[in-house]
């Protein structure tokens, strides 16, 4: 990033966004330079988070690595191992049994549903709809429960292994999966309607922090961030893996590139994910779930899968030994986060939080570690809180300008009706 000079009139203010906020699960660590109310430059300092997983990975055996990489990030914990496993399977040249393929698909898509709902909740919180936060997380709960039922853990599923799946999902549980995803359909539909029809959200999200098509390409962004800027890339379609070429689904793309488009992409993708899960459950054949890979020959390969946040990219090199020689991990946020520079500069300060949240940044992915902040420095660095507050105020201002009741009042009764 280019170094920042003092503004011409010296009126440039530094707002370092303190990386800790009680309601945000991840800290963020930005420095915003602001002139008046407009962001003129920004920088990111992310050295707090490095755990050194890539190096650690070369000291684990091929079978141990999936357990390590699923701890790169808790919310993408099925996609990181899957990307690694794809790379190793390419080196081995082994064919995964169909039942295993369908089961991997189920878990990754269930994860996508819970991740997108989590995002909706956090975005609601940033916009001052705390009730949305509480509600979205409530609907997410059945997904977490079904994941625990089929994999044994609420997060960090460890279901995939080289050549198949570690643990077969018994056919008896398939009905439970369908029931769980069905229970999400109604609330997600309602949230989608709320987002699409809500004039205040329109005012807050449309044409805010637009990432243009060109910028999306220049910054090499992936996933919903790219798809919302009209770049139709989706690894599930572009390099099909598991059962994604065997089930029927659509890639959601919007050309606008603003926060609204990102929200729409995520919400509509949740429906696609529900559809995929249901089809996978329906089509899942009986049979083997493990190809029985014995050893990994020398070679090198890449493996990439579509995580909820974008493309997770792994590169593995083997020399025929027990451990990988080199294992490179590139999480989606690593390319998505720098695009803030393209989307946030020139924006109103109050819009920055939601613009940042729109990418669904995942800092433990980015640095393979997480940031913390003590109050001392946190105070000096002022606050994400302050910024969020600004964001909330802006929502309220629009509500007022448009003469509209608060969100909870408008949508609350409908939601309760739906859930009754």
């Amino acid at each position: 990033m280019r170094s920042v000079s003092k503004g011409v009139n010296g009126k440039r203010t530094l707002i370092p966004v303190g990386p800790f906020h009680p309601l945000q699960e991840e800290p963020e660590f930005f420095q915003l330079w602001v002139e008046g109310e407009t962001v003129v430059d920004m920088d990111l300092r992310i050295s707090y988070n490095h755990r050194g997983i890539e190096e650690l990975s070369t000291r684990k055996t091929f079978d141990q690595v999936p357990y390590l990489v699923e701890r790169v990030c808790g919310i993408c914990s099925s996609t990181h191992p899957l990307a690694y496993i794809r790379a190793v399977e390419t080196i081995c040249g082994c064919e995964v049994p169909p039942r295993a393929k369908y089961q991997r698909t189920m878990v990754t898509e269930l994860e996508r549903i819970h991740s997108h709902l989590l995002w909706v909740g956090l975005a609601g919180h940033f916009l001052g709809y705390n009730t949305v936060f509480m509600w979205a997380w409530k609907y997410r709960e059945p997904i977490m429960e079904i994941l625990e039922k089929i994999t044994g853990n609420r997060c960090a599923y460890a279901n995939a292994k080289i050549g198949g799946v570690r643990r077969d999902i018994p056919n008896e549980l398939f009905d439970d999966i369908v029931r769980a995803v069905d229970s999400c359909w109604g609330p997600t539909e309602m949230l989608t309607n709320a987002v699409l029809d809500d004039p205040v959200l329109h005012a807050r999200l449309v044409d805010v922090a637009t990432l243009t098509h060109e910028d999306a390409i220049r910054y090499c962004v992936t996933g919903p961030t790219a798809r919302a800027s009209g770049v139709p890339i989706d690894v599930r379609r572009d390099d099909p893996y598991d059962a994604f070429d065997l089930v029927d689904w659509d890639v959601i793309t919007f050309p606008e590139g603003d926060v609204m488009a990102k929200a729409k992409v995520r919400l509509l993708e949740t429906f696609e994910a529900i559809k995929i899960v249901k089809q996978a459950v329906r089509d899942c054949p009986n049979g083997e779930t493990d190809a029985g890979v014995e050893e990994v020959p020398p070679g090198e390969a890449i493996g990439h899968v579509e995580a909820p946040r974008g493309e997770t990219f792994h590169y593995v090199r083997s020399d025929g030994g027990r451990c990988p020689v080199r294992h490179k991990i590139r999480a989606p946020s690593y390319v998505n986060v720098p695009s803030f520079r393209a989307s946030c500069i020139g924006q109103h300060v109050a819009d920055v939080t939601i613009a940042m949240a729109a990418v669904d940044p995942c800092y433990s992915c980015t640095e393979r570690m997480a940031v913390t902040k003590d109050s001392k420095t946190g105070n000096e660095l002022m606050d994400a809180k302050e910024l969020q507050e600004l964001s909330v105020q802006r929502t309220r201002w629009f509500e007022k300008q448009l003469g509209i009741e608060p969100f909870d009042k408008r949508w609350g009764p409908k939601l309760q009706e739906l859930l009754a």
């Binding site: 705390n130 105070n379 606050d383 302050e386």
Partner: protein, 316 residues
């Protein structure tokens, strides 16, 4: 009144208000939780929070101005205690007041806000000083309409600055609230009270949804407990203040007890409702709100009250 009796009244009034304040705070938290489909805390929660903080250590920030930092919460609480006791005594024994006690009560109610500003400035924390500057602007904005609203009540009740007379005149005749200017003044005062309590939409002095940070960031242990208790007391005392000035006062004997209780609960629920259905305003928005909207309304009420008084029209 004898000194002994005064001390007795002070202790009794403060403790009674504190207990009332704990319950009021619980209602507030419980309602918020129910809106979010949660169960919410048990009824004794606010009290336990304070007791716990009393038993904790006090951490002195290295950059803080020690004495000022520690003494300001106590001064604020003392101000609240005195104000509240005066309110109770003058409500219950109408004769004991002195001329101008209404103004003294107003002053006393401003003390917690002032000490908050001083304490926050003394804590040497940038967060806190930011909160303090907001609190100061807020204080400047709401005191004027509140005073004008008080004047309306005084005009209605015979032009005396004695709370005893304000209450007495209302109990003999009709409440201030039973007139157009009275209703206007009451609404203005209600919003000012909301700001005095630091509740949404005027809670910008302590940042986000959690009960703290902002001006209280550096406080811990007993001083924090004192701050909490002061706030809880105000949550109970300011509705009583409104009842005293506009709704005919509080009585603790016979049937009027029930009436007083109903008035109190209605005002508390109103405050909680405003808090739960409204967005937070930015500081400049709230300044504009108080100066350009509430102050003219208060002046209008004052004008109406004066006209009514001049021509003997009771309902104006």
């Amino acid at each position: 009144m004898a000194v002994g009796k005064m001390v007795f009244a002070l202790i009794l009034g403060s403790i009674g208000t504190l207990v009332l304040g704990f319950l009021a705070k619980w209602v507030d938290r419980k309602v918020t939780a129910r809106v979010q489909w949660r169960v919410g805390p048990p009824w004794y929660q606010p009290a336990v929070d304070c007791i716990k903080l009393m038993g904790k250590e006090t951490v002195m920030p290295a950059v803080a101005q020690g004495t000022g930092f520690l003494i300001t919460p106590l001064v604020g609480m003392a101000g609240a205690c005195v104000a509240v006791t005066m309110l109770w005594v003058m409500n219950l024994e109408l004769g004991v007041g002195f001329v101008g006690d209404a103004i003294v009560v107003m002053y006393m109610f401003a003390i917690p806000a002032l000490t908050t500003i001083l304490g926050a400035a003394a804590s040497g924390n940038p967060h806190a000083s930011l909160g303090a500057s907001r609190e100061m602007k807020l204080l400047l904005s709401y005191e004027l309409p509140l005073t004008i609203a008080l004047l309306v009540a005084i005009i209605h009740t015979g032009g005396s600055f004695r709370i005893g007379q304000i209450v007495g005149a209302q109990q003999e005749g009709s409440m201030v609230f039973m007139s157009i200017s009275g209703v206007l003044a009451f609404l203005v005062a209600l919003l000012c009270v909301q700001a005095k309590l630091g509740l949404i939409p005027f809670d910008m002095a302590e940042a986000e949804c959690e009960i703290m940070a902002g001006v209280y960031t550096e406080y811990s242990g007993p001083p924090l407990a004192v701050i909490f208790m002061t706030r809880f007391m105000l949550l109970a005392a300011l509705p009583i203040f409104l009842i005293t000035i506009f709704l005919g006062g509080v009585q603790l004997t016979g049937w009027p007890v029930l009436a007083s209780l109903i008035k109190f609960v209605i005002i508390l629920v109103l405050i909680t409702l405003i808090r739960n259905t409204n967005p937070r305003l930015r500081i400049d928005q709230s300044l504009r709100f108080f100066w350009y909207m509430l102050t003219p309304v208060a002046l209008l009420a004052l004008g109406l009250a004066l006209i009514g008084r001049q021509y003997g029209v009771g309902w104006l």
